[in-house]
Symmetry: D2
Subunit: 136 residues, 4 copies
């Protein structure tokens, strides 16, 4: 699996709040886009994963905010796979405007089956070659 993937996201008007800033909860929406697009970049998509009977559910997520983003900003979100084995994926996130880091984050996502029971990740999502490859 890819280790790292960048996407661009433009801040929507509705995503700003009364402070004129991107509301802090929306960074988690962006992180989800990052995970989705990282999957797509390896030729897989999350809709198929659910169709095949797996669900990836967030079990822990955090974000630290350094500088605000405002409406119409074009942000770059870097999503990194830190770990992907057993029943969980750990991702890290960095949100940039140009070269400036606005926020970073980290999540633990668990794989569950249709009954909600924690289960091993589908093989394709494992970071199998972790020890041998130095990234992509």
């Amino acid at each position: 699996m890819l280790r790292e993937h960048d996407i661009e996201i433009r801040v929507r008007y509705q995503e700003t709040d009364g402070q004129g800033r991107l509301h802090h909860a929306n960074f988690f929406t962006y992180f989800e886009l990052g995970r989705t697009e990282l999957l797509r970049a390896v030729g897989y998509n999350y809709r198929e994963i659910e169709a095949e009977g797996w669900m990836l559910v967030v079990s822990e997520i955090t974000c630290r905010y350094f500088l605000p983003a405002v409406f119409d900003d074009v942000l770059r979100l870097r999503t990194t796979v830190v770990e992907s084995r057993g029943a969980r994926v750990i991702n890290e996130y960095q949100v940039f405007r140009g070269d400036t880091l606005l926020a970073d984050g980290r999540s633990v996502v668990a794989c569950v089956d249709r009954s909600g029971r924690v289960t091993r990740l589908p093989k394709r999502l494992l970071l199998e070659r972790e020890s041998t490859s130095k990234g992509r």
Copy 2:
């Protein structure tokens, strides 16, 4: 069925936008709360409706905005059943702050079964006594 039901909604910070006002799309979220609570007021709830195999899907919705609402405003939403027969419910909405009308709206909701086919409303949702009662 009840003809009319009022609920109070306090504007959340996240629901405002860069103009410091309740974002216009969130009125539709409120309308949905109005429909849900009107159902509950007659001893029924939408979760059960879905569990029993029906879904109510919006087929048309509109809102007119007269005055803005801001963060922390306590709004009163009046939801009215204009029609409820066959496979559809027509509702009207009025959003007040105190006695001032801020917005009004109207929706047509269709009843579909699990396969997505339009189907007759569950009996309890019909406005059966429409002609004989003057409603509450």
Copy 3:
């Protein structure tokens, strides 16, 4: 001004609801993206409009839903300027998946100044060549 502009929007996971469908209120979020990108396509942007002291506020908006969209669908939103003069812009919207029309809509947006008073549109936003084109 341009009369018509198309953008692509991919349905986000968070935008779906318990029915597994794009929640109906999110079409209004998309319509706002459509207006924003139509402005950008003529070399102007809404952030500047607000910085110069104007605000465009929705005074009426409606959507009709024909078929559902689901997570990860790539939709095409066509935004059309039907009228842009005096203090208001009227837009129409069509949402397609491939060649299939899923929904359409219409909005009236009013131009207000910082004090919230309705005011004439900035010149650039007027549909100047309206009289000479074949229009609607």
Copy 4:
């Protein structure tokens, strides 16, 4: 200042996602409601704080998820002030359905002035009696 405050929140249909569960990002929306209502419970409100020139901005926030919530659940959110001095407030959160803990969280909120500069909290928000109470 109060150390702890409980509110009830009913899960909205729009807040669920394609998994039929309350979307994980919406817990942060709830945490914000918790902070707002804790302030109100001490006779103060966040709208006034902003009117007086302060803004409280989230600088770090995290949530851990133990069990899912679904549409129409009535949740109880407990918001606790762990620390409130200098320029920051630290809160903890617990989300219950009945007696079952579904999620917990923690945030650090910084006080900034209109120019965005970090500044001391308004006196009323300080946890003044911190040293004399048994608290943490």
